[in-house]
Amino acid sequence: MITVALNFLRALGEVHVLDLFLVAILLDFPRYLLGFISVVGATGWSYLRNRRYEQDEDFVLPERVSILLAGFNEEQTIERCVRSLREQSYRGDLEIVCVDDGSIDNSFAVMRRLERAGLIQRAARLDLRGGKAAANNLCATMATGDILVVVDADCSFDLDAIREILRPFHEEADVAAVCGNIMVRNWADNLVTALQQIEYLITISLGKTLADALGFVTCISGAFGAFRREAWRDVGGVDVGPGEDFDLTCRLRLAGHRLRFARQAICYTDAPDTFRSFFNQRSRWERDTFWIRFRKFNYTFNPVHQRFRWSELFNQAEFMVFTLLPALIFPIYLLYLVIVLPGFAPVLILAVSIGLAVVDIVAFLLALLLMGRGEYFLLLPLAPVAGLFQAYVVRVMRLVSYAEEMIFSRSLDDNYVPQKVRVLSTWR
């Protein structure tokens, strides 16, 4: 069948190719094309920037930097996280502030031990869990630094990660927040984690570099992001979750703050290692995104609203065109093919898939080129699989999540945020 599909592709005329890859050409290609442009631009920029590196590699910010580490039941991971933060090459004034958000394990005992050892400067314990947002706000209140770096307790960091996430603050005084880069620590575990590493490379390393170049950093990850205290205070810190990191980013952008992405500030996290946990996590993320975009910040579509900003409308439009629309159209497109060409549909879909796979390989190679991380080259054979997985499976999952959220408000049932908080969330 593959031979038939390849012959079919070879036999197509230019116009027919356009017909066949209509969705891909309209929706996927611009993204990768822009990605490619970003690579060329960013590589040149990075070259110039690296030359500057050598001159001021050991820069130190005049401000104190506070790392905020709020965790719930993180007994097993918090020490690794703290130790990787203490291994950092950044030599400026750095403090680590921890809050145990009502853990029922020995997280606080570990924090106390680390505090006694001088590895963290402050640790507080809450008897009742209040959620990540509240715990991060308490961390910020306890912190004394002017730069707040929010990290997840289950993450660990490259030696230069803190220095690199602080570099935009050093270089540009008007930067309010910086997003760190996320990689999958357990990418070699199995197919699920490997696919996620490929996705992270393409969507975060490549995608956010593009977003950074265009001035549209969409989401400062809650796993690794840095904020100036004035900007944090300006928007009131973190709001009730879920999706509090995306929500905070939206509020910062709406308040007119400038956000950046630090590609070389690399944080490693453990990705879900089963398809079930992967789908659970992604469904939650998609639901949160949908509600924050279309419910909490629905006024971004209203030009007469006092907080309306064209830049935010552009951001919403980008999401709708490149994320929401493919999720809606792609199944309809497949259905159309099956109905119009019932006997030939499998060959046609296979032909489309081959085309998409080629595009995904190119995107993956571009991401590798951008990051300069040769170790991930091993994942190249899986790049087309990751693309097809995204196209056929994740898109369907995304569509289902949006539908669930639209009809049943499922995000309000996520136990990621405690019940006592969920019932009062302002964007309900």
Partner: protein, 405 residues
């Protein structure tokens, strides 16, 4: 001069006591059981007539054991002026343990109620005796002492871990559910009301609008917040303030005289040797004692044990036929010459021992230890392939005698 064979002394008042102290050698005075006739002597004598017992005869009866032991102290004891020997005699004569007393009246907090002139040097002397095996030490208490002046009178209290001010207070944390603001209560407090500092809403109902999930320690001096306070100390004697982990700790022990201690203090030979080598001893060494070398932990002498273990069946290179695997005289002579040359000291004494010998070197342990690796190497080269040797230096807990060659 009066000596210890007096057995005991009766003193009427502090003047008597002073005169007695001037008349007696210090060691004898410290060892001698004393009977006081005045309440003023309460802490200076063993028994006070009128308070502890009604009559002098009764006091003598009560002290008869001590008196008998005091009379057994050899005359040579009077020649020794050493804290450790004085303490040993004091305890051995009374057959009593040395137990600490804790009091806030002294900066040391713990002290040993020895009624004589040792004062604060008791513990040091007791530790020396314990090192020599003449006393046994049993853990009694551990106290924290100031890192500056060593005083045990320190106030330990909670303080701000940032500025070390003791002006700290526990404060509730308020979690406002609606906007996720979580901060100390003082940030929310407006008179009798609670107003969220982030969204400016009134917090009206506990558990519906907000809750208090925990507490933090807030510092009134610097405003810093922490989950738990630090711990610091203030020394009442020198005024030093610092973090508690900089406090030094002192282990307080109680002591008891061992059998070896009892035997030594009543042994004229042991005391004679001690008198001979005591650091401050002005007395010239008795030529008659030159034949005996005493290794005293207080002196600058080090014992090096040199042992040979045969590693092959070939025998020693110099051994006579039929005497394989035996350490022969020529090997011994050569090795001893090597040791003398190595330490550039022809006067080194050697004592035979199974499979080797001991060398007594007139130098302190540290100096000898520095030269041991070189010595060991030379000895190994000398007896290469036939044997290995062990060179160790050590000080013995109790004086040990060796016949000099």
């Amino acid at each position: 001069m009066l000596d210890a064979s007096l057995g005991a002394a009766v003193v009427r008042n502090p003047d008597d006591l002073r005169r007695l102290r001037n008349a007696l050698n210090r060691s004898v005075f410290d060892a001698l059981p004393l009977i006081g006739l005045s309440g003023d002597l309460r802490d200076k004598v063993d028994i006070v007539v009128g308070a502890d017992c009604p009559t002098i005869a009764g006091a003598l009866t009560a002290l008869c054991g001590s008196i008998e032991r005091a009379t057994r102290l050899p005359p040579v004891f009077a020649d020794i002026d050493d804290d450790a020997v004085s303490l040993l005699a004091y305890l051995a004569v009374r057959d009593a343990p040395l137990t600490p007393v804790y009091t806030p009246d002294r900066s040391t907090v713990a002290h040993f109620p020895v009624q004589r002139r040792l004062g604060d040097k008791v513990e040091l002397a007791a530790d020396r005796l314990a090192q020599w095996g003449l006393l046994t030490a049993h853990f009694d208490e551990r106290i924290n002492v100031c890192s500056g002046c060593g005083s045990g009178r320190v106030i330990v209290r909670e303080l701000c871990s940032s500025c070390q001010s003791a002006q700290i207070a526990n404060e509730s944390i308020i979690h406002h559910f609606r906007c996720a603001e979580e901060a100390p209560e003082s940030h929310f407090r407006h008179g009798t009301s609670l107003v969220c500092p982030k969204c400016r809403q009134y917090l009206r109902h506990f558990s519906v609008d907000y809750d208090k999930p925990g507490t933090v320690v807030s510092c009134a001096s610097c405003g810093h917040l922490n989950g738990e306070p630090g711990v610091g100390f203030r020394c009442l004697d020198c005024g030093r303030t610092d973090l508690a982990d900089r406090l030094r700790s002192r282990e307080i022990c109680s002591y008891a005289v061992t059998d070896a201690g009892h035997a030594s203090i009543f042994d004229k030979d042991w005391l004679a040797d001690f008198a001979l080598y005591q650091p401050s001893g002005a007395q010239a060494p008795d030529p008659a004692l030159r034949a005996v070398t005493t290794i005293d932990p207080r002196s600058d002498a080090t014992l090096v044990e040199i042992r040979f273990a045969q590693g092959s069946d070939n025998g020693w290179p110099w051994s006579a036929p039929g005497t394989q695997n035996q350490f022969d005289l020529r090997t011994q002579e050569l090795t001893q010459r090597l040791v003398r040359e190595h330490f550039a000291d022809d006067a080194i004494d050697f004592v035979d021992a199974p499979d080797g010998f001991d060398a007594l070197i007139e130098s302190n342990v540290a100096a000898v230890q520095r030269q041991l690796p070189g010595l060991e190497l030379h000895i190994r080269q000398l007896v290469e392939a036939q044997a290995s040797c062990t060179v160790r230096s050590h000080l013995r807990g109790t004086p040990v005698q060796y016949e000099a060659q």
